[in-house]
């Protein structure tokens, strides 16, 4: 356990960057994802098309490629660090999955809710914001939680672009100490500190929602 003591600040810094990247990407992808989910169900055909293409493209290509695109190509025109390019890629990638989740949530809200709201004089946007979306989020909360767990795990992609995250720092420590076995076990524990409680909580929520239904 000397390894943990000696390198504790390094691990902690990596843990911090992983959390920071995950939270930024989560907030960004929630906003973007909700936007694209709504785009996919509005009456305008062109908007639905754009929303659909966005989701299909980002869902079907590897996150690593998106990251490389920002790190190698975009960073030539807009200056950004490995951390930023990784986080932006993570945000775009996750937003496609969140769009799918939120869209499914919106569709599972009874259509009478929208009709009732419109009949009471609310505009489409108002009805969406005040009536449909709050219910949709409640329904899709467990899936959104699972997306966040995936996001935390996927943030390890930052290691490829020098993103200073947990995986990156773990590789550094492993390379410096040659004790790969203990290092990766420690890194695993740090990840589990975030993901495991969340995962159990989501299972609990899912069960609760199922009983409520």
């Amino acid at each position: 356990m000397n390894l943990l003591q000696d390198n504790f600040p390094t691990f902690l810094q990596g843990f911090g960057y992983t959390l920071l990247s995950s939270v930024i990407a989560l907030v960004g992808s929630m906003i973007l994802g909700t936007g694209f989910a709504i785009m996919q169900i509005v009456p305008q055909k062109w908007a639905r098309k754009i929303g659909n293409v966005y989701v299909q493209v980002f869902r079907n290509i590897p996150l690593l490629i998106i990251t490389f695109f920002f790190f190698l190509v975009v960073s030539k025109y807009i200056k950004m660090s490995g951390f930023t390019s990784g986080t932006v890629a993570l945000m775009l990638y996750t937003s496609a999955f969140i769009a799918e989740t939120v869209r499914a949530g919106i569709l599972s809200v009874d259509s009478g809710q929208m009709e009732g709201a419109r009949a009471n004089g609310l505009s489409f946007a108002q009805a969406m914001q005040h009536i449909v979306l709050p219910q949709a989020f409640r329904i899709s909360l467990p899936s959104l939680g699972n997306q966040f767990i995936n996001l935390v795990k996927n943030s390890s992609i930052l290691a490829f672009v020098g993103g200073l995250d947990l995986m990156y720092q773990g590789n550094m420590v492993a390379a410096n100490t040659f004790d790969t076995f203990s290092t990766y076990i420690i890194v695993a524990i740090f990840y589990l500190v975030i993901t495991l409680p969340l995962s159990y909580y989501m299972q609990h929520l899912e069960r609760k929602l199922k009983h409520a239904a």
Partner: protein, 219 residues
């Protein structure tokens, strides 16, 4: 500059080299899919059966693996296992890491699918004299698999995408070979990245169309 890259990046030699990488990507994917379907089903059934102690134990291990980044598991299998005397070639290290991770993900899908089968199906089968094993094989699994096909296919899509992570241990799959190609000349970066993106997209979009078709057919 960019247009120059488009024409010179794809020499026959480079294209063949990239296609070889695609072969490795598909190879890793196919072997991992088969292994993880088998192990995932077994682990999912064990969790579903609620055997005393054993199911809890397997379930906990499954939860731990599921909640780790795949990249970490790949690094662990390739860099850490040799410390305890297990040396694997890059290709098999990738296959084992991916199969372990995807089995855990699939086990969760299988468990969920089994739990969605109505309890009356069990009781009916058992009442008609089928053994527990027979009930599972002839009555429950066929119904459960039907419902599991769409989520299983989307899991397979992430498997194909995730093979790109093997770049971390220098497996010569498509993304890695792309890097080698655009390392020759920086004007190759954009065309090569776009070409690789297209290949992944077509591969996965095809899979997702199958998922949608299956969803439609079975619903």
């Amino acid at each position: 500059m960019v247009t120059l890259g488009i024409f010179s990046a794809f020499t026959p030699q480079n294209v063949l080299y990239l296609l070889g990488g695609l072969g490795i990507t598909v190879g890793v994917s196919v072997i991992s899919v088969i292994l993880s379907l088998i192990f995932g089903s077994v682990v999912g059934i064990i969790q579903f059966e609620r055997l005393p102690f054993f199911s809890k134990f397997v379930g906990t291990i499954n939860n731990v693996i599921r909640n780790l980044p795949l990249l970490l598991i790949i690094f662990f299998v390739y860099f850490a296992l040799p410390k305890i005397g297990i040396h694997l070639p890059i290709f098999w290290a990738t296959v084992i890491a991916m199969s372990t991770f995807e089995s855990a993900m699939l086990a969760e899908i299988v468990r969920g699918g089994l739990e969605s089968v109505d309890i009356g199906q069990f009781e009916g089968a058992r009442a008609n004299g089928l053994s527990n094993m027979q009930t599972m094989i002839y009555i429950i699994l066929p119904q459960a698999y039907k419902r599991m096909i769409p989520p299983i296919i989307s899991q397979l899509i992430s498997l194909v995408k995730d093979t790109s992570l093997a770049l971390g241990i220098v497996l010569a799959e498509m993304t890695y070979r792309g890097q080698i190609v655009y390392a020759q000349n920086s004007t190759y970066i954009i065309p090569v990245l776009i070409a690789i993106t297209l290949v992944y997209f077509l591969l996965n979009y095809g899979l997702s169309l199958i998922a949608r078709w299956a969803d439609h057919k079975l619903a």
